[in-house]
């Protein structure tokens, strides 16, 4: 299938064209306090301010926009309980086609409501990988819809690449970036970021940032083989998935390094951003900040930091765990 090859330079540029005026060109913020703490000049790309509250909108919309009308006319299907579900639901609505989202039976009500709020049909399944893939396949057969995988899809990766395209382009006015920090889960955002840096800004070294609890990407990068997570107990719920062959291939070739951080570092970084930058980010987005705070070497380097999303349950904040009833 054509969408299981890495997207080309032209694919990345085409994604940017398609998203112009549709996705928000999110702001790039700076913070003197965090710069001092990190010993670096940090440029925060605020995808928490993106539509649906996360970068995922870019990939979902591009997957639909890059597909001929006759192939997408029956709608789209995916399995996700996270930001991709809302992103695909909104993208489908914008194209006027139905969306069917497979979600685990135990997904939080607030997420189910959000997906339904965009007009999508929700199909429930047991909370296992096998059950959700079976349910998605069944939905494809039933509806004739097109499966849009959260990351194992060249169109999705091309869409996610627009985050780095915008960031690198915007800060280039004042000089190149030496590092570009991106969170890594399934590898869609990381792949897009690494390809954007490769094609358009070769000087920027991409560092993928991962919770130590789910360090499949870090282990895969070291061993050269696709490793999997045995556990999923990280607060960074967007980063629990493992790489796919497609994203692993891109990561091996174009990512400079993968670094892991502890849960405590994630919570501290998340709180610091809320407190000092006055913006809401989710745990998965704080992983890049935590890596930045560990330091990136001497010379006060210029560093792009992708803040991937801001969808948080405000009734359960990690620094209040154990303090709530």
């Amino acid at each position: 299938m054509w969408n299981h090859e890495p997207p080309s330079r032209a694919d990345l540029l085409a994604a940017r064209d398609r998203l112009l005026g549709v996705a928000h060109a999110t702001p790039v913020l700076t913070c003197a306090t965090l710069d001092r703490m990190a010993g670096a000049r940090l440029f925060f790309k605020c995808e928490n301010l993106q539509r649906v509250g996360a970068f995922k909108f870019r990939g979902a919309f591009n997957a639909l926009a890059a597909t001929p009308e006759e192939e997408r006319g029956q709608g789209v299907v995916t399995h996700s309980s996270g930001n991709h579900a809302q992103a695909l639901a909104l993208a489908a609505r914008l194209f006027g086609v139905p969306a069917t989202i497979v979600m685990p039976r135990d997904a939080p009500a607030v997420k189910i409501d959000a997906v339904r709020g965009y007009g999508a049909e929700v199909v429930f399944c047991e909370p296992t990988p096998a059950a959700r893939e079976a349910a998605a396949a069944e939905a494809v057969t039933r509806t004739g819809g097109m499966l849009v995988h959260p990351f194992d899809d060249a169109r999705v990766i091309a869409g996610q690449s627009t985050v780095a395209q915008e960031l690198l382009g915007e800060v280039a006015v004042t000089g190149p970036l030496e590092f570009l920090l991106t969170p890594i889960g399934g590898g869609g955002l990381t792949s897009g970021t690494a390809l954007a840096a490769h094609h358009f800004f070769e000087g920027a070294r991409v560092i993928a940032c991962e919770p130590a609890q789910v360090d499949d990407a870090c282990r895969s990068f070291a061993s050269g083989r696709l490793e999997h997570n045995e556990r999923a107990d990280t607060l960074a719920d967007g980063l629990r998935t493992s790489l796919s062959p497609l994203t692993f291939g891109i990561v091996r070739t174009h990512v400079h390094d993968i670094r892991t951080v502890s849960e405590e570092e994630i919570v501290a970084a998340m709180r610091l951003v809320w407190e000092r930058m006055k913006i809401v980010i989710e745990p998965s987005a704080a992983v890049t900040v935590a890596v930045a705070l560990r330091g990136l070497g001497p010379g006060n380097p210029r560093v792009g930091v992708i803040l991937s999303g801001g969808n948080v349950d405000l009734d359960h904040l990690p620094w209040l765990q154990g303090k709530e009833r």
Copy 2:
């Protein structure tokens, strides 16, 4: 004293010149969900992203910048336990002069630390208006410093006017604003906003927004006499103070209306902004949002909404009151 007359048109413009490149020209955000809920097109001026996390930096800096060096050389003094304290401490540091901040003995440690973090000397007093004024007068005598009142000062009001100058100028590209919502406590921001609207954008009607628990401005506006608050039990701690003769005079002349909202509306509006806009605002900043959500009349009007600050104790969020131990 010259700084007890309303600032002139020239004073407002001079403040804008002084703050260029010193204060952040904060972004103006929009949110389709809140627009739908309010039946209006809302333009949020994000002073929560200002230096020290609130608009107060503008007035404090302008008070110093507008004063001849021989008068400010001995430093500055104020009494405040809120955002003005940090704002004046930072402004004094930027001018290289000492700052003495009178704070009540029971002020939160985090606020005391923040003020000291900017290099200011903290003097404690009993938590009564009489005690803090006496302590401030004593500090003026001892240090020879200049008193910079949080709002009863034309230089401060001129500084605060730059929020509306920026907002009105930025959105003018797409059309005029019909309403401009500002929170009201002592009336410094409201006075600056109303004067900016009067001098530069006459069509914009300024509506001051106040917690019902501390509705002195609303009552003063109705009675034509300066009324005072008997109570202070609002979460919007920046809005507990009453108007001064200077700010009341400006408010009477240039403000279109004053509206009050309940504590429940403030908490709901605050949470909604965090959840949907992914930015951190404090309760005092949510008062304008709560008024917008009540609706401003037919025709989907264009409304400027000033978000005044984002300094919040992340360990004690109002919607978790009673849920924490």
